[in-house]
Symmetry: C2
Subunit: 340 residues, 2 copies
């Protein structure tokens, strides 16, 4: 079984975007507010949006199940206020729930949090709990920079985040550290902001005692960990210079996905990070959608790169499914229920 830990609903029906547009327009003109609390989308529209996209690629590339969340770049936590983010997160999460109901074999939900700059992360705990307990979701995407590229929130090690972590621990769900769009013209979203956030989060974890306070808290750092594996020696050296525990300690709580879009990068990832800490992921259809003219294959078909590695069968199975089932215990429980 092959689990893709990193998929966003980037092909959601147009009505979702119209809903969001109306919601944002209403910030200036209350008359523009969406007509209903959620967008009107039929089951057929959902099927159509997936059959020709994610489901087609699952079949073609040979993955079985995608851990699926709302489109990250559209979370837009910096837009509007807490109420805006709450309504938008609920609408997006409810849509993911419908996807998972329509295709329970293919998708398992991870939720968007209703974060908003300056609002305590504790306020996101209720939506997380709703998604996990009522909608059967198995994790969340946590935005370390709800300001959208201005980085005005405290680091992930700050106690402000603790009530949300408490809820994650209570529910036994991990978070993928994932920023949204950037409204800072310095940062291209998928070409800079995403990778910077991954790198930043890792260093925040490295320099804090967060995991002493929450020994079972788990984070997935996506996009292959940003710059981290490439600079593994730098981080080993920094940990040593700063008298922090060796990186092996961090790896009890931190995992990386395989969203690295070329073979040399994937090779490096597996050279420096233990296979126990790598979860297969592609982010398809996401940041990079083209076909590499050199190989004739999609850049984001990361399974090809992993398959090209000389991995032992045990490691391959870890990366493709066992690690995901361990990091997302609620996914494991769901799968076991249906004999998978």
């Amino acid at each position: 079984m092959i689990i893709d830990c990193h998929g966003h609903y980037t092909t959601a029906p147009g009505a979702l975007h119209e809903f969001r547009d109306a919601q944002l327009a209403a910030l200036r003109d209350p008359n523009a507010a969406p007509a209903a609390a959620s967008p009107r989308i039929s089951d057929d529209e959902i099927r159509d949006s997936l059959e020709k996209a994610q489901l087609k690629l699952q079949r073609e590339r040979g993955s079985d199940l995608t851990i699926f969340s709302p489109r990250a770049s559209a979370m837009g936590h910096h837009l509007g206020n807490e109420a805006t983010s709450m309504q938008w997160a609920r609408a997006c999460n409810d849509l993911i729930y419908r996807v998972c109901q329509l295709y329970p074999e293919n998708f398992v939900g991870v939720c968007q949090l209703p974060q908003s700059p300056g609002v305590a992360p504790a306020h996101s705990a209720a939506e997380l709990e709703r998604c996990v307990r009522e909608l059967g979701f198995v994790g969340c995407n946590l935005n370390p920079d709800p300001s959208g590229g201005h980085w005005t929130s405290p680091p992930l090690s700050d106690r402000q985040w603790y009530p949300l972590y408490q809820k994650m621990v209570e529910l036994d769900v991990p978070a993928m550290v994932h920023v949204s769009a950037s409204c800072n013209p310095n940062f291209h979203a998928t070409g800079a902001h995403y990778l910077n956030a991954d790198t930043t989060a890792f260093m925040q974890f490295l320099t804090s005692d967060l995991f002493k306070d929450f020994p079972t808290l788990r984070f997935i750092i996506p996009h292959g960990g940003g710059a981290v594996p490439y600079h593994w020696g730098r981080y080993r050296g920094l940990a040593q210079d700063l008298k922090r525990p060796p990186l092996e300690e961090l790896l009890k709580n931190i995992y990386f996905d395989t969203c690295v879009y070329h073979l040399p990068g994937i090779e490096l990832l597996f050279k420096v990070v233990p296979a126990e800490n790598i979860l297969f992921g592609s982010e398809m259809l996401g940041a990079v959608r083209g076909i590499d003219v050199r190989t004739g294959q999609y850049y984001d078909d990361t399974k090809r790169y992993v398959d090209a590695l000389a991995l032992g069968e045990a490691d391959r199975q870890r990366v493709y499914s066992a690690n995901a089932r361990r990091v997302y215990p609620r996914l494991d429980a769901l799968l076991k229920k249906t004999g998978r």
Copy 2:
């Protein structure tokens, strides 16, 4: 001949720091201002600060010449105002000049610019010109984020930077893109801010037509290019999706150093980036000063990693000296003058 393109005067005598402390104190209390326009440092103090540090390591590790600039983390462009940065840059650059006068065989100067948040980069052109024409420097360090982690300046592709680029082109000197300390608690300086800035700058270049306007402008992106080589496939795919030229075009103007502190990272760098675009660098004594217990060697002894690669002699010579002489033509001219 082995040229290290990335060295900062991190071991400068204490009087330099006292000068800076007084300068910053004077921002609140004019009576605290430094007694003179520059710190009082004897030649012997300079010799002492280098003989047991950079010069010792040059000898031990087998490099010949370091392209040497003021300590990057101490540039602190976000502190004080334009006058503060101007006085501080001049003091630091003058000290580098003295180093280069004392050890002309071992050091060639690169200057700190007197940048300040909200101040047009054009205001840095005069100090660049002074350093190049009067002090014999061969390049500059350019801070893409003088706010120190708040990223409030326009991207490097913005026309605001053009007068400074004009001066760089006129003087035929490159810039190393190098941020300073971070005053944003999200970003650890050497563990996040530095690498993020490298990644960010590359994507700013990728998405702009800067090098159409300045075909001979040259940048070195340090720390092995941040996250870029590890995500080379992502950048190739993004360039393609965004209908930008292939990365090979960018490589006419952009170079990476070898400040990557483990062999797998260096291997990756050389796998994806042509040897023509890689300049040997170590940043010793810099971000990571420890000895790796696994190898018994300094993390930042990057020459060991490069030496461990199966490079052809021509590529080795490019990386160790020819590229630096090409990217810094004034260095080449200086060396030729003394028959090197």
